[in-house]
Structure formats: structure tokens, C-alpha cells
Amino acid sequence: MKINVTVNGTAYERDVEPRMLLAYFLRESLGLTGTHVGCDTSHCGCCVVLLDGDRAVKSCNMFAVQADGHAITTVEGLEQAGKLHPLQQAFWDQHGLQCGYCTPGMLMTCVAFLKHNPKPSEAEIREGIAGNLCRCTGYQNIVKAVQQAATADEMVAAS
């Protein structure tokens, strides 16, 4: 089936089998390997991307054909004109990553989360990232990273 998808601002037209999962479409058809696959049951969240700007979606739980006509943002689309997204900067500053495997999905979940809840409490952050697993950090520094990003100038201005 032919599909048209915009990913990180670039339009793509590709021919895919209906059963191709969006995660593999991004990784293999488009070569955007930042989105990762960590489980079979949509628990881990390593595959989270954004649909149409503000809906976090587990891309292992969606078929590429469903994305036809939509816009996807992956982790590769966060940095703009050489400037890191405040969340990327915050994850780095606060040591919110170790092996880095959960990081892209975690970042995309947090982008959507802060759009919906720009001034979250710690408890709300922990609830907000409960769809993403991390085996390395114990989550504490990820929470600190989200707290830092929430106070970044661009984020406060946008909200």
C-alpha cells in the first residue's frame, strides 16, 4: 500500500505491507534508528514517537498505514537548527540517561507530557512517564530532567 507520511518535517512516500509496524517503518524504511524496540507487548515505551505534534504513541503498536496523511516527530526531530530541545539538554545536565536505549521514547513522551501539563509536580511527572520503562536510572534523574526542562525559558513561553 502506498502511504504518505511527514516525518520531522520531511514528506515521504513509500510502499508498505499493511502489517509493517510504524516503529520498523521509521527505523528501516526511513533509516531513522533513534526510535527503539524493547518489548513485544507495548509496555516499555522505547518506541514512543509523536503523532501530529502532541499525541505520544507507541509506534510498535501502530501500523505504518495508519500514519498515512499524518505527521510524525521522532527523537531526531527534536534538535532544531543545532539547538537542543530543553528536554534533551535537561536529560544531559541531570544525568537522566545511562545506556540511552529508553531515552528517545522517554524524551518523546515527556515532550507530549509537558505540552499537556507544563507545570507538573514530582508525583505528576512520575505518573506521566509511567508508560516508559528504564532499567538503568531508577527514574530519579529523569524526573529531575523533566523538572529542569519545565522551567526552561522556551517551555515557559510556549505554555
Partner: protein, 293 residues
């Protein structure tokens, strides 16, 4: 890990969806959120020959009050309920449920109607829908029919939807100011299926006795169960600690769970009582009834 092959069709209108369903019959599955269906397909437990995607149908994406009901369209995402000020202020039982379903990412794509149609024995929305005495609208080429939630939920993963039919909306009766509800879920972690769940909805008469009650439990049988015996006990009675305890006992009696990693039969039955009691106490508290803690 990878699904078997299937055909995919996008429906741009309800009629298009119904035509597709009519022509492919039992081979076809409706795809809205897909958050239960797609995992089953990846494990090859579900192998539909064709998926009919109804998410492009804007007409099915609504959340509104109409004629004494809160109406939720088939393509309406769980997230819409989670962030709705209307739901938060007037439908506390639905609000409680909306933050406990699956996880916060899955909720951005999953749908309430989809969850009812999937009818997983441990699903959350069936429980709340039973307590609320919800109704579903089923449409086919021959027209609409309204089905009560009790008639809709037939058995594990089985509903009253016939070949060629699809659910277009679910309706929850709008509570008056003497009606409140609450939902409780015991889960081992976020994203786990419920070990046990309970929803209660109480309407009080002006004299403080109970006019009507809805009590349902989940993950405790082949499908969500209405605790009719508890509802009968509650109706006409005055709220009290003993009444709550008696209603909880009825829930324990009717619970028919299977043993699994979440717990033994004995533990789960006990939890049926604990959660119904907690849901009732919270419901009464929301109604301003004091002294039941």
C-alpha cells in the same frame, strides 16, 4: 512478534465502514485505537483478514452531553476523557477510571468503546459502564439499535455485536446532584491488568436513604460482573458501616476469579470485598455522607 498478513481499509464515513463490514463479515475487525487488538495480532493470537480503520471518521470522535447522557463516540480517545473538565466535574467515576486505564501513553490512542468491544475480563471500562448502567448504540446497514451494557457484555472477549455491525457510541446517564460514583483498581504496577477492580454509583433520596445503586467488579470472572445482590441491599437502605460491609460481602460471594500470577482465588475474592467497600466509602464521602471511615 510480527503479525500475520492482512488487508487494510480506511473508512472515511460510517457507511463506508458498514459496507466493508457487511462484505467481509467475520473476517473483518474494526480498528480504532488498536491498543488491545494490535498486541494480540503481534502475538498471532488474533489474525483478522482485514482491518477497517474508523479513526478518519470525524463523526465518531465526540464527547458531549446530550439528552441526559454523556455520549462517547467510537473513535474518542481515552485521553479525551482524562483531560475533560466536564468529566472531571460531573462524572467522578468515569474520571477515576480514565487515569487508571493502561498507561498514560496508551491512553492517548486507546478508545473507551474499543475497550468495551474487546471485553477483556480484566478490562476497566466494562466495570464502570456496568455501574453506570451505560447503553451502547450499534449500527448496521439496517439501522441503529440500543443495547444495555448488561446485554452487550456477553462473555470473555465476546460482545453482542453481530457481523456487519459496529458500535458508534456509548452513553452514560448524566448524574443528578444526588448521584456520585467512584472506581478503584488494584494493579501490581501501572500498565498491568487489574488484580481486582470495583465501581460503585449511588443515588440518594432527599431523606438520605439510597434510591438506587450500581455496583460492579472486574478481573474477577469471565467478564465484569454486576453485584446485583449488593445493589438490592443498598437500595432503600441508609448508608452505614454495616451496610458497606454487607455489600462488600456480596461482592466476595459473586466474584469468580481464576488463580494466576496476580493472586489466588481466595486473595482475589477478598480483594473484591475490600475494593467494593472502599469504592462505596468514597462514593458516600463524595455525596457528603459522613462517619463511614
Amino acid at each position: 512478534m510480527f503479525p500475520a498478513q492482512f488487508d487494510y481499509q480506511r473508512a472515511r464515513s460510517i457507511d463506508e465502514a458498514l459496507s466493508a463490514l457487511a462484505s467481509r463479515g467475520g473476517d473483518a475487525r474494526v480498528l480504532a485505537g488498536g491498543q488491545s487488538l494490535i498486541p494480540a495480532m503481534r502475538l498471532r493470537l488474533a489474525r483478522p483478514a482485514v482491518l477497517i480503520d474508523i479513526t478518519p471518521i470525524d463523526e465518531l470522535s465526540f464527547l458531549r452531553e446530550n439528552n441526559g447522557f454523556l455520549c462517547v463516540g467510537a473513535a474518542t480517545r481515552d485521553f479525551a476523557l482524562e483531560v475533560s473538565p466536564l468529566v472531571a466535574s460531573r462524572y467522578p467515576m468515569i474520571a477515576d477510571t480514565s487515569v487508571l486505564v493502561a498507561d498514560p501513553v496508551v491512553r492517548q490512542t486507546g478508545t473507551l468503546v474499543g475497550s468495551l468491544c474487546h471485553n477483556d475480563p480484566a478490562g476497566d471500562w466494562p466495570v464502570t459502564s456496568l455501574a453506570a448502567r451505560a447503553q451502547l448504540v450499534l449500527r448496521s446497514k439496517s439501522g441503529d439499535r440500543t443495547v444495555s451494557i448488561d446485554d452487550f457484555l456477553v462473555d470473555s472477549y465476546t460482545t453482542a455485536v453481530k457481523d456487519g455491525e459496529m458500535v458508534t457510541e456509548v452513553r452514560f446517564p448524566t448524574p443528578d446532584d444526588r448521584t456520585r460514583g467512584s472506581f478503584y483498581k488494584l494493579e501490581r504496577k501501572v500498565g498491568d491488568f487489574a488484580t481486582a477492580s470495583a465501581a460503585t454509583r449511588i443515588t440518594l433520596k432527599p431523606d438520605g436513604t439510597i434510591a438506587a445503586a450500581g455496583v460492579a467488579i472486574g478481573a474477577l470472572g469471565p467478564k465484569a460482573l454486576r453485584v446485583s445482590a449488593a445493589e438490592k441491599l443498598l437500595a432503600g437502605a441508609k448508608p452505614s458501616k454495616d451496610l458497606v460491609a454487607a455489600a462488600a460481602r456480596e461482592a466476595e460471594k459473586i466474584a469468580d476469579p481464576g488463580a494466576d500470577n496476580r493472586g489466588s482465588v481466595a486473595y482475589k475474592k477478598a480483594m473484591a470485598g475490600v475494593l467494593v467497600a472502599r469504592a462505596l466509602r468514597t462514593t458516600f464521602e463524595r455525596l457528603g455522607v459522613k462517619g463511614l471511615e
